[in-house]
Subunit: 338 residues, 3 copies
């Protein structure tokens, strides 16, 4: 059997007209997921889950291709392509390539087209400071994010690893301590079209970074305002985040600490307001994420995550999440990059 | 993050029994497509397009794997595998791998099996002398090709980048100024099977190349005869092409010129005959490609395309196509290879 | 066109935290398959095949990505991802990535999760000693395997090249002449769940290897016991295998011989018992694999396979299979690894 070890930093030579390159990278992660909701009688959130084990394998394998070239005038043109297979709640899957994202970069400016990142998704201080960007091995529902609220999770333009994404356009700019990002997508559906416009800005002053992001959407209940302030204090990291999710306020407080040379521990707490009575009347319910009732996500959620660096790009990751709607998730496993 | 730069011309070493290789290549292209047909009331060609913007992103990312090895007797065995994601008319997609093509090459002969090229598809002088083989960024419907006529486009065996292709067999031969190609495919459908047989030949004498291709098909209205004469006159290129598409004649005249060291401009004009009354009676209509009426593609179409080499395997591409059926398309964007 | 030749044994360097690698390998094979069953009137096994040619292209292209890294403590973590396109019986296909398999290896132990191999599938002495692990180019239905019997083929956990697989867990151990393997999978279906547990062991003493495998399944007619004894006698190889397939006994005797420096010829014979009357009453029929009647696989099947090494990792492969249910298959083609 032939064994090909790709060079981590390898030679590049030019033949013919092209001096472009392809970079292959990705990660694998696998572990166990205990989720009490999987075996709960009367679960109406995600269909009938009864009969499914509370504890399942959770896993993901991501294979990513990044291709790029540089023009004579110094513009870098490129694209990203990803295939990602997952297993959650005992539902394993294979993978196809996702929608492509194209880019052109010149000095501090980057134009991206297709499966864009999105300005809310890319806001500084939105996701957890963990390897999975959430708690545990698979993020455990990403309830730690203040823009995910009752009945409305991930209702903003975001890069899709397994789908086609927003098929939008965005411009990113970075210069020194400042970064900014504007994204736009349009869904030309019949009988009407819907568009999303979002923007973010971040500024770093010393150990602290402040950030803001907004989204204006033609779709119901998707207007958002997000702000965060993050401090990187050497061994310690702290962050405060807030979002107004079209009337539902949610706060998050996050702290993490290095322990010794290889460990990190993170804790967070979030607090979410109720859906207003007027919004419920207007059809903003809903029960997509949870057990029953229109306000079941109201209240306090919290989580704790532990990471241990195993070397070689691998780590042990474990976390517990306690939802505001009385659901406990415990996950542990390994994560490795390549 | 690890960065892998694949060597453009890299080392190869033998371990175990295999000295085979895999080559990764492809291209990305993205830009804007203005197509007035997208927002036309009464468009009956491709379903209801009304409500769709006239101007959309058009993009494609192609990732290709070519694997090959050489036997002790000098036969090269190999295969091609491709994953290609596209967005046209605001309908973005991901990608799976297409049907595989296998080959065996010995001296001037190549045998191919599976997702074959096809002898009409591969005829010299069929496609435009542009990077997209058509006008603009995505070919703009490839109306420049004389074998695409009213109601019948791409009705010959051709390599499929996103599907499984013809699952046929073909033999190619080249020696000096001569090249030839015979392809065959069979669709064992019930209750009857249908087969396509095609052949092409080309001969180069000095600056000029003459080519002919024919297809004989069991399916209705697919018999074709194609001839072309192409001249490569240094700074200038000219071509005349003609096809008899089972009774519909179409002519094309093409010219392109290098401008300075980095630019090329191409113009073409085509003229298509009407569908005969007898064929219309026999069920040859049709309106698949256009607005209404059985002969809406009859008449003159033309286009102009401009290309500017940006270096690094990248270029700027722009083009305008005016259809014989009164539809205008304007496209511009960038194209890069890797 | 850029040409990338991946180094068969190439350099590896560390940048940042990751020293992981990705290995690309695979194989292609294509040839002709004559199967008299394809054109048989009254074929009720696989739907109506009538009208399909008896002789078709058979082909497969497999592209495999193996990623791995090693932790500081010497544990190797990794995963396997595969995309495989096939054409059989004139039904060509493309490919998506299959379900991922993850592993952790430490000294002789390997833990695997996801799209596992399975302990019956991995039993020593189960498959033919040919490049395709069966007869001909595509295995010709793998009737040579003693665990494939009337109406029940491949009813054990096995790595799936084109699907998601068992989503199970398994542990493999090897030390000197001994190897062992335990696998487990659970399908949390409603209203009940079904699990498969399997194990195998093998021990090599001198030129001979003895092996045993068992499967205990919640699903009907899936309990299995398999034993084999294999001898590797230099120029000759012999093997005797037996399986009790939940009441259906099947024996297999296999022999192969090197001829000269590049050729090998293999012959086998199998003998399968009838389905018991009680099992037929209990719903164990069945006709999935063949013409008609509940016991149509009872009796003797045999095959012969010839391989010729072409060099460069390529070979010519040909084989004839005569089924116990009176069906003849003849295949020939080429096979190459990369």
């Amino acid at each position: 059997m032939k064994k090909i070890l790709f060079a981590t930093t390898a030679l590049i030579a030019t033949a013919g007209m092209a001096a472009a390159d392809v970079r292959i990278s990705g990660y694998g992660r696998f572990g166990l997921d205990y989720n009490e909701n999987n075996d709960r009688v009367g679960n109406i959130a995600s269909g009938a889950l009864n009969g499914r084990s509370e504890t399942n394998i959770t896993s993901r394998l991501r294979l990513q291709f990044d291709m790029s070239t540089e023009t004579d005038s110094g513009v870098t043109l490129g694209a990203r392509f990803r295939a990602q297979a997952e297993s959650r709640d005992n539902a394993p899957g294979g993978a196809a390539f996702n929608g492509a994202r194209f880019f052109a970069t010149y000095e501090g400016f980057t134009l991206q087209v297709g499966n864009i990142i999105g300005a809310v998704e890319n806001a500084t201080g939105l996701y957890l400071e963990t390897r999975t960007a959430g708690v545990g091995i698979d993020g455990a529902g990403f309830e730690s994010i203040v823009t995910n609220v009752n009945g409305e999770s991930f209702n903003w333009d975001a890069y899709s690893s397994a789908g086609v994404g927003a098929n939008g356009v965005e411009v990113l700019y970075a210069a020194g301590a400042f970064s900014g990002h504007i994204s736009y997508s349009e869904d030309n559906g019949l009988p009407t079209s819907a568009s999303r416009v979002a923007a973010n800005m971040a500024y770093t002053f010393g150990d602290w970074t402040g950030a803001i992001a907004v989204q204006d959407s033609d779709l119901a209940f998707e207007d958002k305002t997000f702000v965060s302030i993050s401090g990187d204090l050497g061994q310690f990291g702290v962050r405060l985040a807030y979002a107004d999710n079209d009337g539902i306020d949610k706060w998050g407080l996050y702290g993490n600490m290095d322990i010794g040379s290889a460990s990190n521990i993170l804790v967070y707490v979030t607090d979410e307001d109720a859906v207003s009575a007027a919004d419920v009347v207007a059809g903003r319910n809903d029960n997509r994420d949870a057990i029953a009732g229109s306000n079941n996500r109201e209240g306090t959620g919290y989580g704790i995550h532990y990471s241990y660096d195993l070397g070689g790009g691998a780590s042990f990751e474990a976390g517990i999440r306690e939802s505001s709607w009385d659901n406990t998730t415990v996950q542990a496993g390994v994560y490795f990059s390549f």
